[in-house]
């Protein structure tokens, strides 16, 4: 379960055909770019949740 959660962000980065698109744009950023940038804090959050789960 822990490893599945941890691998989710990595798996999302592999969905290249899904995010290889200019639209929808966000603050002028094409989708390709903002999707990858948003994925970074999302990955950090997932790791944090796993960390919290382990600590309890």
């Amino acid at each position: 379960m822990k490893y599945l959660l941890l691998s989710l962000p990595s798996l999302a980065t592999l969905l290249v055909p899904f995010y290889n698109s200019t639209t929808p744009r966000l603050f002028g950023f094409p989708f390709f770019y903002w999707f990858l940038i948003v994925l970074i804090p999302a990955s950090s959050l997932v790791t944090y949740l796993v960390y919290k789960g382990e600590k309890r």
């Binding site: 980065t13 603050f27 390709f32 970074i40 790791t47 960390y51």
Partner: protein, 516 residues
């Protein structure tokens, strides 16, 4: 030689350089320890808490080369250069899952390098030697690349020289680096990393706010860069795939470069040095959560390639794109600041890399094969000496080998490093693999990957599989072959070699044992 020097920028640059030089020597007195002991010199006494580790590991992974090379590829071809972002998304969950286990066993058994661990786990000297050799071999061009990054900014300051004289500033900087690393060990880059990262964050924040203000916002930057790249692709007659999005043919290379680089990065001796100097496994876990802050910065740095395109920066060598963007948009004093940030960003990883390689040489090549009776003091003396030799080697590389060659070797280096992943990381979970089988797998991966990369004209990072149109990073192809060979042979060979670790060695140490 100095007719075109930007005096204001050069003055600020030199001032910051002097500051970190002083810090580098002062660091010897920080968190006091006996620097004649390899544990203290080479791993900072394994006492670095979450904050120091965050700066140290961040300074280790995000280097001058990152600031120069990643945006240079984005500048040259567009979206393809962005593979560095998925790559950094992959590594931190991997770090979280695996490295606390490695830290725990390394702490209990006093392992200082990946090869130390592999020897303990598989009891196979030759596998240890293979892991050590791979690490040292892959590190040299990596250090050389830090120097390339440093040389790009010294060049952009307006320093012009001919022949060997053109490398004079770089040589001076490097001699200083070599001296304080020799004296202070890992404490020096750990202390300088604070200064370096704060400077880089200031530089990046300024760039991502000020450049779009001058160029009409991010939408305008992407549009202008997209048009410039489309024009470039059209002029080349479709030979160069450049654009804001990946062409269908680039998708698989993009994915596999990210995966392969991810497998390789944590295996480098300097990554091990950074991680094993942490105070506890928990320090590493906290860092796996916090280090992605650097990845956000990396993504923004990558976008500077587009900012350079949109600002109309024209350079023949794409590696000059970021320095010339900085020259185009910032006042001179801030140019000096930014360039100093990049140059210091070369010193930190170069120091850690030379320490990592020196630790590995001492512990895994010299000690077992030449002089088994070494004590920790003798180890420290040899490692200090080796850190000098490694740096002189890297400097010679820059002075005598064209830098184009260094870049190609770096791509090879990543492919090589990925080949020790099975021995190190799989070993944290299972002892099913046989040491000899892992060695055979390693050899298969090294030979296959190097062979795939070789073309008469240059070393290429990707290769079409079985002549199909599926193009894959050599590091991944070689890794798969490596694992297959290791698995098949492990199933056949009896597994009787001594394993000095036990299952409980991989669990976290109790907090009380870690406190000091």
């Amino acid at each position: 030689m100095i007719d075109h020097l930007n005096w204001m920028a050069a003055g600020v640059f030199i001032a910051f350089f002097l500051l970190v030089t002083i810090l580098g020597f002062v660091a010897a007195h920080w968190k006091r320890g006996d620097l004649n002991d390899l544990n203290e010199w080479g791993l900072g006494g394994r006492r670095f808490g979450a904050w120091i580790s965050w700066f140290l590991i961040g300074g280790d992974i995000y280097t001058a080369y990152t600031v120069i090379a990643v945006p240079s590829v984005v500048y040259a071809v567009g979206a393809y250069g962005f593979f560095a972002v998925p790559y950094t998304i992959i590594i931190y969950p991997l770090l979280y899952a695996t490295f606390p286990r490695l830290w725990a066993v390394a702490h209990r058994k006093n392992y200082m390098t990946a090869a130390d661990y592999v020897l303990g786990r598989y009891g196979n000297n030759w596998l240890e030697l293979a892991v050590a050799f791979t690490g040292i071999f892959a590190t040299m061009p990596y250090i050389a690349l830090q120097l390339v990054g440093m040389e790009r900014v010294i060049d952009a300051l307006g320093f012009q020289g001919h022949g060997i004289m053109s490398h004079l500033p770089l040589t001076i900087a490097f001699v200083i680096l070599a001296l304080y690393t020799y004296r202070s060990g890992l404490r020096a880059p750990a202390m300088i990393a604070f200064v370096k990262d704060i400077m880089i964050y200031i530089f990046v924040l300024a760039a991502i706010v000020i450049v779009p203000m001058k160029l009409g916002g991010y939408g305008a930057i992407f549009d202008a860069a997209g048009a410039a790249l489309a024009k470039k692709a059209a002029v080349s007659g479709g030979k160069i795939a450049a654009g804001l999005l990946l062409s269908p043919k680039q998708m698989l290379p993009f994915i596999t470069l990210a995966i392969g680089s991810g497998l390789a990065l944590l295996m480098y001796p300097h990554s091990m040095t950074g991680m094993l100097s942490a105070r506890s496994g928990n320090t590493i876990r906290i860092n796996a959560v916090a280090l992605p802050a650097y990845s956000v910065m990396l993504a923004l740095i990558a976008l500077m390639g587009y900012m350079a395109l949109a600002a109309g920066v024209h350079v023949t060598n794409p590696q000059d794109a970021v320095p010339h963007l900085i020259l185009a948009v910032f006042p001179d004093w801030f140019v000096g600041f930014c360039f100093a940030a990049i140059a210091i960003g070369a010193l930190v990883p170069a120091a850690i890399m030379s320490i990592g390689a020196a630790n590995t040489f001492t512990r895994n090549i010299w000690k077992p094969f030449i002089h088994p009776a070494m004590n920790s003091q003798e180890e420290a003396v040899l490692a200090k000496l080796m850190s000098l030799i490694v740096k002189v080697g890297a400097l010679a590389f820059i002075l005598f080998v064209p830098t184009k060659f260094a870049l190609d070797l770096q791509l090879l280096g990543g492919m090589w490093m990925a080949q020790v992943f099975p021995a190190v990381i799989f070993g944290l979970y299972t002892r099913w693999f046989n040491g000899w089988a892992l060695l055979a797998g390693w050899a298969t991966g090294m030979v296959l990957g190097t062979w795939l990369a070789w073309t008469p004209a240059a070393w290429v990072p990707v290769h079409a599989i079985f002549g199909s149109n599926l193009t894959v990073y050599n590091g991944v192809t070689a890794f798969v072959a490596n694992v297959l060979v290791a698995a098949v042979l492990s199933a056949l060979l009896p597994n009787t070699a001594l394993d000095e670790t036990r299952a409980e060695d991989y669990a976290d140490l109790p907090e009380t044992a870690v406190a000091k």
